[in-house]
C-alpha cells in the first residue's frame, strides 16, 4: 500500500515552502523502502480520507479565511474521517491557527470560527513575531526533540484545557502567551515555525510518521543525508543562540 502524504491547499497555505514538509515525509518513507506519495488537494476538490499524514501550511490572511471555509464544507470531511482513522495532521502557522476554535486576521476585529480540532484561540497582536526559533518539543509518545525553525506570524495563541503545549520555547515567541510554541490534541500537532520545519527537524518528521503508522521506524539508511541534517542543525543552533537581534540578524 502506498502511503499518502496529503498537502491541503498548497495554493492557499503554501507560501513559505510548506510543501517541503511533504517532500521530506514522503522521501523518508521511500528511502526506507516504504512506498509513499505526495498528494496535493486544492479547494473544490474533496480531501481524501486515506491519508497517512495531512499537512496545512502558512498563508496570507484572506487565504486563511478561504481555507477554513472550504475545509468546513463537506469537501473537508476527508480530513476529519482520516484523523478518526488514525492519520496525523501537522498544521503550521496559519494552518495551526485555523485548526483552533477561532482566530482574527489583519486589522479588523472580526472573529472567524476555526475547524475546532484544537482547543486554542488566536488573536492578532501588535507586533509580528519574525525570526529564528529554538524550542524543545515533546511528542505524544513522550520523546523530546530540539526544534529549530523560523517563525513569521502576527497572531498570538492561547491554549484551552483540552490542548497540550507542544514545545517549550528557548528562543523566540511561539504562542506568545505561555512560553510554549504550538499545541497537540488528538491526532493534531500545531506549531508556528513554517516552511522547512521538517528539513530542519528530521526527528520530528520521523516522530510524526511513527505516530501515524503506530510503529517504530528503523534509522534512516542514508549516511550523507543524516550528516547534512546534523550540519544544518548545528549551524542553526549556533546562529540562534549567538544572535542578539533575532529578526534582523538570525541568518
Amino acid at each position: 500500500m502506498t502511503h499518502k502524504i496529503v498537502i491541503i491547499y498548497q495554493s492557499l497555505l503554501g507560501i513559505y515552502g510548506d510543501a517541503g514538509n511533504g517532500k521530506v515525509l514522503a522521501k523518508r518513507l521511500q528511502w526506507r523502502g516504504e512506498p509513499a506519495e505526495v498528494v496535493t488537494v486544492e479547494p473544490g476538490q474533496p480531501v481524501p480520507s486515506d491519508g497517512l499524514v495531512y499537512l496545512l501550511g502558512g498563508g496570507e490572511d484572506w487565504a486563511q479565511v478561504a481555507a477554513v471555509k472550504a475545509l468546513s464544507a463537506t469537501e473537508g470531511d476527508g480530513l476529519r474521517t482520516g484523523l478518526d482513522r488514525g492519520a496525523v495532521l501537522l498544521a503550521v502557522c496559519a494552518g495551526y491557527q485555523l485548526c483552533g476554535r477561532s482566530f482574527t486576521v489583519g486589522d479588523d476585529e472580526l472573529v472567524h470560527p476555526g475547524l475546532g480540532l484544537l482547543d486554542i484561540e488566536t488573536r492578532r497582536g501588535n507586533e509580528r513575531a519574525v525570526g529564528e526559533v529554538l524550542s524543545t518539543g515533546t511528542l505524544p509518545d513522550g520523546s523530546t526533540t530540539t526544534i529549530t525553525g523560523f517563525e513569521n506570524h502576527g497572531g498570538f495563541t492561547t491554549l484551552g484545557s483540552d490542548a497540550t503545549p507542544f514545545a517549550r520555547i528557548e528562543i523566540g515567541v511561539g504562542n506568545g502567551t505561555d512560553g510554549f510554541d504550538g499545541a497537540i490534541q488528538g491526532r493534531v500537532l500545531g506549531t508556528y515555525p513554517h516552511g522547512p520545519l521538517l528539513p530542519r527537524n528530521p526527528e520530528l518528521a520521523d516522530g510524526l510518521l511513527e505516530w501515524a503508522l503506530g510503529r517504530k521506524l528503523e534509522a534512516l539508511p542514508k549516511q550523507v543525508v543524516n550528516a547534512e541534517h546534523e550540519t544544518l542543525r548545528a549551524q542553526r543552533f549556533q546562529v540562534v543562540r549567538t544572535t542578539k537581534n533575532r529578526a534582523e540578524q538570525t541568518r
Binding site: 510548506d18 517541503g20 517532500k23 487565504a63 478561504a66 525570526g131 547534512e228 544544518l232 538570525t250 541568518r251
Partner: protein, 418 residues
C-alpha cells in the same frame, strides 16, 4: 531673490557633497555609491527628488522580478531613437528615492527619464513625476520576512492611479498576473502584454473579491467578480514579439531566457507609447548585454563564470531554465537584502537539475544541501564562495546567486554594476 540664491547654493552643495560620498563609497568597494549619494543630496536639499522629476517625460518600470533588465532594455530603446544624452536612467538597480535622485542628478537636463522604481515608491513617483508610461511586470512573494502581504501593495498602486486621474500613466501590464491586472484597472489606458512565463503560485485568490481564481486553458478568471485575464496587445512567440494586429519583430537579444523576451515585449510596448519607432527600439534593445552585472562573465583566477541573479521562487523558477553548465554553482546568502528566511528554497523545483552536479556555496549552503538531497540532485558543499569558484571547470561555469552573493561575486569577478 535671496531665497533663490540660497536655493542654488544648496543645490550645488547637494550635488558636490553627493558626488564626494559616492566616490568614497566606490573606493571603499561598497557598490555604485548611488544610494549614499542620493541620501546625502536629499539631506541637504530635501525637495531635490521632486524637483528633478519635474518637467521630464518619464517612463517607470516596476514589479518584483525583471525591473533592472527591463529598465536597461527600455532606456536602450529610447536612446537608440532619441540619442544617448537625451535619456537619463538609474542603471544600477538603486531604485529607492535616494538612488533615483542620484541617477537623475547625473544628467538633470535630459528631457526623458527611464526609471526603475521600487514597488513601494511607485505611488509617490506617480503623484510627483506624472510618468507617461508605467510597466507593471509582476507581483510575487519576495522576502516575506520584510514585506508582508503583497495585496496591500496593489491597493496603494490602485489608489495612486485613481488619484492621478487623467494624469495617470499609460500602464503596460502583464496579463498573466491577476494582482497586476487588478492594480492597473483604474488607469485610463492599459496596454496588455503576455510575457510567456507561467508562475501562478502567488495568485490563488482574486485580489478584488477574494474568490478562488480559476485557471482554464492557460487563462485565469475570477468567478466572483468582473476581473478576468484580458486579451493581450503584445505577446512573445518563440524569439519574436507579436502585436495583436499581426506585426512581428524578431528580438535576437543578448540577454538570455524567455523571461527576458517577455521583459523586452513590455519595453517595446512602453517605447511605442512614448512615441518611439518599433524598429529603432528593437535595435537598441539588442545592444543590452549584462544589465547591472546580470548575465555578465566574471573572471576568478582561471575560472570564467556567468553570473545570474535570482531573488525569490518566481525568479529561481525562470533562472534555473537558463543554467547550462555542468557543474552549476548555486550561491545562497541570507543577509537582509536576500531575506533571512530561506524557506523559499522548498518552493523552487531543484528537481529540474537532476542529472547534473551542483556546487552549493555561501552562508546558507547547508540549507541548500538538504534541499538538493531531497530532490535527489548530486551535489557538494563548498561554503566559501572563492573556493567554490576555484574549479577547474570545462568552459564557462554558470553561477546562480541570491542578491548579496551576486553583489559579492560581481566585486570579486571584476564586473561593473552599471
Amino acid at each position: 531673490m535671496r531665497a533663490s540664491i540660497v536655493d542654488t547654493i544648496r543645490r550645488h552643495l547637494a550635488f558636490g557633497l553627493g558626488n564626494a560620498a559616492a566616490w568614497a563609497s566606490r573606493i571603499a568597494g561598497r557598490g555604485s555609491g548611488a544610494s549614499i549619494k542620493g541620501m546625502v543630496m536629499r539631506k541637504i536639499y530635501p525637495e531635490l527628488f521632486d524637483r528633478l522629476l519635474t518637467g521630464k517625460r518619464i517612463a517607470v518600470v516596476s514589479g518584483t522580478n525583471g525591473k533592472t533588465t527591463t529598465t536597461h532594455l527600455l532606456s536602450a530603446a529610447m536612446r537608440e531613437a532619441l540619442g544617448e544624452s537625451q535619456v537619463v536612467t538609474n542603471p544600477d538597480g538603486a531604485n529607492l528615492r535616494e538612488g533615483i535622485t542620484s541617477a537623475l542628478s547625473t544628467n538633470p537636463s535630459a528631457p526623458v527619464a527611464v526609471l526603475e522604481v521600487d514597488e513601494q515608491v511607485v505611488p509617490d513617483v506617480i503623484a510627483k513625476g506624472h510618468p507617461e508610461t508605467l510597466i507593471m511586470l509582476n507581483f510575487s512573494r519576495d522576502q516575506l520576512d520584510r514585506h508582508h502581504e503583497i495585496n496591500a501593495l496593489g491597493k496603494k498602486w490602485r489608489r495612486a492611479l485613481e488619484q492621478a486621474g487623467q494624469n495617470a500613466p499609460v500602464v503596460i501590464a502583464n496579463v498573466s498576473d491577476p494582482l497586476v491586472a487588478w492594480s492597473a484597472a483604474p488607469a485610463h489606458k492599459i496596454v496588455w502584454v503576455n510575457l510567456g512565463t507561467d508562475w501562478s503560485a502567488d495568485s490563488a485568490l482574486c485580489p478584488g473579491c477574494g474568490a478562488m481564481l480559476t485557471h482554464l486553458d492557460g487563462r485565469w478568471d475570477c468567478p466572483g467578480c468582473e476581473l478576468t485575464e484580458h486579451p493581450a496587445d503584445y505577446w512573445v512567440d518563440g524569439d519574436e514579439v507579436v502585436a495583436a494586429d499581426g506585426r512581428r519583430w524578431p528580438l535576437q537579444l543578448q540577454v538570455p531566457g524567455r523571461f527576458n523576451r517577455g521583459n523586452a515585449a513590455c519595453a517595446l510596448a512602453a517605447a511605442v507609447e512614448m512615441g518611439i519607432d518599433e524598429n529603432a527600439a528593437i535595435t537598441g534593445m539588442r545592444r543590452v548585454e549584462s544589465p547591472a552585472g546580470r548575465f555578465a562573465i566574471g573572471v576568478f583566477g582561471n575560472t570564467r563564470a556567468r553570473l545570474v541573479l535570482a531573488k525569490n521562487p518566481a525568479g529561481w523558477a525562470e533562472s534555473l531554465l537558463v543554467m547550462e553548465s555542468d557543474p552549476v554553482i548555486l550561491a545562497i546568502d541570507s543577509l537582509i537584502a536576500d531575506g533571512t528566511d530561506v524557506s523559499w528554497m522548498w518552493d523552487v523545483e531543484y528537481e529540474k537539475l537532476a542529472g547534473r552536479r551542483v556546487i552549493c556555496t555561501g552562508p546558507r549552503a547547508a540549507d541548500l544541501a538538504i534541499r538538493l538531497s531531497y530532490a535527489e540532485v548530486d551535489h557538494e558543499v563548498i561554503p566559501d564562495i572563492s573556493e567554490a569558484l576555484n574549479g577547474p571547470f570545462d568552459g564557462t561555469v554558470d553561477v546562480l546567486a541570491t542578491y548579496s552573493a551576486f553583489l559579492r561575486l560581481c566585486r570579486l569577478g571584476g564586473i561593473e554594476l552599471s
